[in-house]
């Protein structure tokens, strides 16, 4: 009898530490934040002393031009980097899908930008974009061309953070899509080859559709991460000039620490969280659907044979 009890408790014993930590340091804070978004709260007060203001923080955000601007900057940034990085990463994966001797070196070097601290990535790019000592303007100058206001003009600054993100994250797409490409079922490739599909048609009609599930999950993962980017931009531009590169995450941290409006910052955090939650759910639903479809196909194939 006692052993049965122990057995029933075992999974909970294994799980308990994780559940406690997640509850204390992740779920509780999230609930706390939802509550805080209905308060007029500044950092010198205890939360109990803050005044309850209902939906006022959310109403304020709806009318706030700066918030709207930073919301669109965030969306624009995420969409542009994901599209460009997917094109580049998948394209490179197709180009380099062969057994070259230097591939291991390339893959190792390619991971570096993702492993290094975002703070440091920001520093490197800020240095390279520097108006006088930066390598880009120096090169332009030595070619006799005009310098570019990389980080001091709004549009250029936006382009600059996009370029830095492409440098840092295209390898992620490349590595994942190369893995997907190389794990395509050889039987399908063989069949396509027998049917005479080559070159572009093989890629476009056979390989890409087969890779689609992985590519979509990759794009969604990257999209979620793109909404989280903060430190690289903080170091490079700190959101400026003006609001041109002020993504939501930066706006939240500024609202909390500079403007000392924790309630508004919490409301913003909630909206960002909601957005990311939807993306995660989309990814989750998509994987479930493709898994179910694959299972159905497999079942049919078995019945046929």
């Amino acid at each position: 009898m006692q052993t049965a009890n122990v057995n029933r408790l075992t999974p909970y014993l294994f799980l308990a530490p994780a559940v406690i930590v997640l509850a204390v340091a992740l779920l509780y804070p999230i609930g706390y934040m939802i509550w805080a978004s209905f308060l007029n709260w500044n950092p010198s007060q205890r939360i109990g002393e803050a005044e309850f203001v209902g939906l006022r923080n959310y109403m304020f955000l709806l009318q706030d031009g700066a918030f709207r601007e930073s919301f669109f900057v965030t969306i624009r940034f995420a969409v542009i980097v994901v599209v460009l990085e997917m094109c580049l990463g998948v394209g490179l994966a197709f180009l380099l899908d062969r057994k070259l001797r230097g591939m291991t070196v390339l893959r190792t070097i390619f991971i570096l930008p993702m492993m290094i601290a975002p703070i440091v990535v920001g520093l490197m790019w800020r240095y390279m974009y520097h108006p006088s000592v930066g390598i880009f303007n120096r090169t332009l100058k030595s070619l006799g061309l005009d310098p570019v206001p990389w980080l001091s003009n709004g549009d250029w600054a936006f382009a600059s953070i996009v370029i830095a993100d492409i440098w840092q994250w295209t390898p992620f797409i490349f590595i994942l899509s190369l893995a997907a490409l190389q794990s395509l079922p050889s039987s399908a490739m063989e069949a396509a080859r027998i049917d005479g599909a080559t070159g572009w048609r093989l890629i476009w009609h056979i390989k890409l559709p087969l890779m689609m599930p992985v590519l979509i999950v990759t794009a969604l993962l990257r999209m979620i991460d793109a909404f989280k980017v903060l430190e690289v931009i903080l170091v490079m531009t700190n959101g400026g000039p003006g609001l041109s590169t002020e993504i939501l995450a930066l706006r939240i941290s500024r609202t909390a620490s500079e403007f000392r409006e924790l309630g508004t910052a919490a409301a913003m955090s909630n909206l960002l969280l909601l957005l990311l939650m939807l993306l995660t759910l989309a990814m989750f639903a998509y994987t479930k659907i493709t898994e179910a479809r694959a299972a159905r196909l497999r079942a049919r194939a078995e019945k046929d044979s």
Binding site: T10, P11, F14, L15, P17, A18, V21, L22, A25, L26, Y28, A36, P43, I47, L95, L96, L100, G102, T104, L106, R107, I109, F110, I111, L112, P113, M115, I116, A117, P118, I119, V120, L123, M124, Y127, V133, F172, I175, L176, A180, T198, G199, L221, K228, L230, E231, L234, V235, L248, A249, S253, L262, A265, S269, L272, L273, M277, L279, T287, T290
Partner: protein, 291 residues
């Protein structure tokens, strides 16, 4: 291009592309390294190139409070970096160990047992994976300061890093534990091993690659994180990213010293990359390919 052509010898164009990509990817890092070894006179001068006399002066300035001698060129020694380095090491190491221990047990429980509440836990870890640090900023600051009273301590920073990394670690280790043949665990149980013995002595050794990947990812996040560390740390518990950002000014940046500190922060991740690139790629691909 037919399949035969692919199998034939390497094409120079592909090698050119390969080399170009390697140069583009590593270029900024090499530039940072080069700058960290230059004097400011050389950084500012117009003849910038890779040919210069390397100097350790910037590193001496950055690490001045940890040196056993006093470098002549350091006029004012800022005693924060050495302490920050120690803080970073402690915070990253302790939070990595805790996350791994707690995470692998949870992952095992989710994979191998059917019990009430399993789906809830599983879904929660999945959904909390995407919570960005910026979202946690306000509540964590409030709770750590006013309720737990652990703001400004390393313990407080460690707690939030463990919580942030747990969902990812649980989820990635699940995909490794699934692959462990269940017969091995049954055999161990026949021999009289309890569930904890089975787990620690039979399962854990078999998922070492997964643990390595999870450890690298966790350490990287804890070592590199800035935002929450900045909100929670006081002067004594600051980590390296926090000191670096706080030393940045709008103008007159001492690029040599800043690049040296950046290099020092980048060294551990660079070492991991060269030692364990295979595990890192496994960890990354497990994410998308296995859903």
């Amino acid at each position: 291009m037919s399949a035969n052509a692919q199998a034939k010898g390497p094409n120079p164009a592909f090698y050119a592309l390969l080399v170009a990509l390697i140069v583009m990817s590593a270029g900024p890092i090499v530039l940072m390294l080069a700058t960290s070894l230059k004097l400011n006179v050389e950084i500012m001068s117009d003849t910038s190139s890779l040919i210069f006399m390397p100097t350790m002066q910037n590193y001496e300035t950055a690490l001045c409070d940890m040196l056993w001698y006093e470098p002549e060129h350091v006029r004012y020694c800022d005693p924060t970096f050495g302490r920050a380095l120690v803080n970073s090491l402690i915070v990253a190491t302790v939070s990595t160990i805790l996350t791994l221990v707690i995470g692998c047990m949870a992952a095992y429980s989710l994979v191998r047992f059917r019990f009430m509440g399993r789906d809830v836990v599983s879904l929660t870890t999945l959904m909390t994976r995407m919570v960005p640090p910026a979202v946690l900023l306000v509540p964590v600051f409030g709770i750590w300061t006013f309720q737990y009273g652990i703001d400004g301590t390393r313990m407080g920073i460690i707690l939030i890093y463990v919580a942030m990394n747990l969902p990812f670690v649980i989820w990635i280790l699940q995909s490794f534990i699934v692959q462990v043949p269940i017969q091995l665990e049954e055999a161990a149980r026949m021999d009289g091993a309890g569930p904890f013995q089975t787990f620690f002595l039979v399962v854990l050794p078999l998922i070492k690659p997964g643990l390595a990947a999870a450890a690298i990812f966790t350490f990287r996040v804890a070592w590199n994180e800035f935002l929450l560390g900045n909100a929670l740390a006081d002067r004594n518990s600051r980590t390296v990213p926090v000191t670096i950002v706080n030393s940045l000014t709008e103008y007159d940046i001492d690029w040599g010293v800043i690049m040296a500190t950046g290099m020092l922060l980048a060294v551990p991740p660079i070492i991991f990359t060269f030692v364990a690139s295979r595990q890192i790629i496994t960890g990354m691909t497990a994410g998308a390919v296995k859903g």
